[in-house]
Subunit: 336 residues, 2 copies
């Protein structure tokens, strides 16, 4: 084969506050012929994730900032269309981190073969079989030390991480799982589909008050995807020895001024609480245990997941902005 | 012997904000004769501690609130003057929790015999050999998981817990220990006497800025006695994987409104930080290891401690208020 035209989405400027389409550029490039050891992949699904907002800033963080005028990297799945590397053949499904582009190509080491599981879309490797659900798994089991009989509160519960976390918590022995989300429809999904014992709409009344009502005997574990008033509410409702896994704080990602922290940090001392932040990239050693558990749960029909699919590479930026607005249920992906 | 007149300090009303002498009452009581199994002790030193402020409120906390019109309980040391219990004889030095009174008596189980260590005042059992230094020991080793080579920041560093913590950190292998205190004299003590590598006066410039200057390569462990701007500064300077032991927040104890928390909690996620609150009462299983280490350090001259002594039971309230103001260096005690 030969050179090939390809389209990519670049970060063109760093957002201040909420990102806008102006911060991105659609760029057409000519891909070179494959070198020995390289493969070429046509992408089927791209991942848009809240953590990407942090990488758009030029700030010290766990992941390096995105470079200006380069591709928005991130998780993606597709099929090999040409291979000059051992172990990869045309048609193979693969996972990679090369991000928002229609065609990805490069050294085979940047790609991972995945097993196509009957009945599951390939996008499952971006959600329930991917980093998203691993985040839920690690946060609950490793970071928060979930124990049988715990009462668990999860914020952003209808999102990709939260919907997995609620089900994993129940499967691992939590007594009661409470979730918060931002619409009546999502709240209904939490209890009707994702196995939550109780759920509330955080837009309807103060989180602190609603959490107290939903967990009158207090909470033992908090899985934080939101920060802000949700973290404050958890600190208010924690039982002695409570443990929080801090996964993200979407409430603050687009703020232009630093937000005040919880006004009840003193509970940490008096109740002996533990808060631990984490990013899943430091815990990939748990991937084998996670894949074993999750594959079994999926095959036994014990876990469900949803995706919100936006069509077209050209709508990637819109998909990302809608994700930040909470328009998704379950994992937000872009389908090419 | 017979009945005996005794003087006690009671909590008369719950303070709003800063406590005042009006919140307390001096009460003369007639003590009954000893029953079988009881001992009578004349107190030599009483402990006044920051945690007592929390117990003056009628709020859920790790320790039950002080009852109104009852004695202010807390650590005290003295000598047995009469015993009707096995294992206690007149003249024995003992430690107990019966608090602010000149004479303590009751069932022998409420008292613990202590070894009088040559060269040390009995008050050492309220400070360097007592709960105070155990708090420093547990906070660093158990809660913050101090490792050799760590850079450690300690707030309230010239207080009873902080002055012990700085020395323990160095003895356990910290590379660099930084302390903050509220006067030039205390700051000098930190580096000249307590083994701190660097120290600053938090009243002179923003803590965040001074900590950055004192720890240009960041901190790995933070021992928090202060809360507020000190905790925020620590979150700003933490290296990835940093660990904080939250022991108290004296900056907020007398506030009448909840104080905003740190405005940089998001660093917990991006840097994988861990904050753990604790109260030493839940960690007394470490007392034997602590006593072994501390006795050795004291006998080898490897650790020093200071006391600020206020004379007279009648000045207990003033001693406590002065403690809250930071007037003490090392352990604040009342000598009877």
């Amino acid at each position: 084969m030969s050179t090939l035209a390809s389209t990519q989405i670049h970060l063109a400027s760093r957002p201040t506050g909420w990102p806008t389409p102006d911060n991105f550029a659609t760029v057409d490039v000519e891909l070179p012929e494959l070198a020995d050891g390289e493969i070429r992949v046509t992408n089927e699904f791209l991942s848009v994730d809240p953590y990407m907002r942090g990488r758009m800033n030029d700030a010290k963080s766990y992941a390096a900032p995105y470079a200006l005028n380069e591709v928005m990297t991130g998780g993606a799945v597709g099929h090999v269309i040409e291979s000059r590397a051992e172990g990869f053949a045309a048609g193979d499904p693969v996972l990679h981190q090369l991000g928002w582009r229609d065609i990805a190509q490069g050294p085979a080491g940047a790609f991972r073969n995945v097993d196509r599981i009957p009945g599951l879309p390939l996008s499952a490797y971006l959600s329930i079989l991917g980093m998203t659900a691993l985040t839920a798994y690690v946060g609950l089991l490793e970071i928060a030390g979930l124990k049988e009989g715990d009462t668990v509160f999860i914020s952003g519960a209808a999102g990709a991480v939260g919907s997995a976390a609620g089900q994993i918590a129940k499967l691992k022995g939590a007594k009661r799982v409470i979730g918060s989300a931002g619409s009546a429809a999502k709240v209904e999904l939490l209890t009707q589909k994702y196995g939550y014992d109780a759920a509330f709409n955080y837009k309807e009344a103060p989180v602190r008050q609603q959490l107290r009502q939903s967990a009158p005997e207090g909470i033992d574990v908090y899985f934080d995807n939101v920060g802000g008033d949700h973290l404050e509410a958890a600190l208010d409702s924690f039982n002695p020895g409570g443990r929080g896994a801090l996964c993200g704080a979407i409430s603050a990602y687009n703020a232009t001024e630093p937000a005040s922290g919880p006004n009840n940090m003193s509970n940490m001392v008096t109740r002996g609480l533990n808060l631990r932040g984490f990013t899943v990239g430091n815990y990939t050693q748990h991937l084998p245990a996670f894949m074993a558990d999750m594959s079994a749960w999926l095959s036994e029909g014990k876990i469900v997941f949803d995706e919100t699919i936006v069509e077209g590479l050209g709508n990637s930026v819109e998909a990302f902005i809608e994700l930040m607005r909470g328009a998704n249920t379950g994992k937000m992906v872009v389908k090419l």
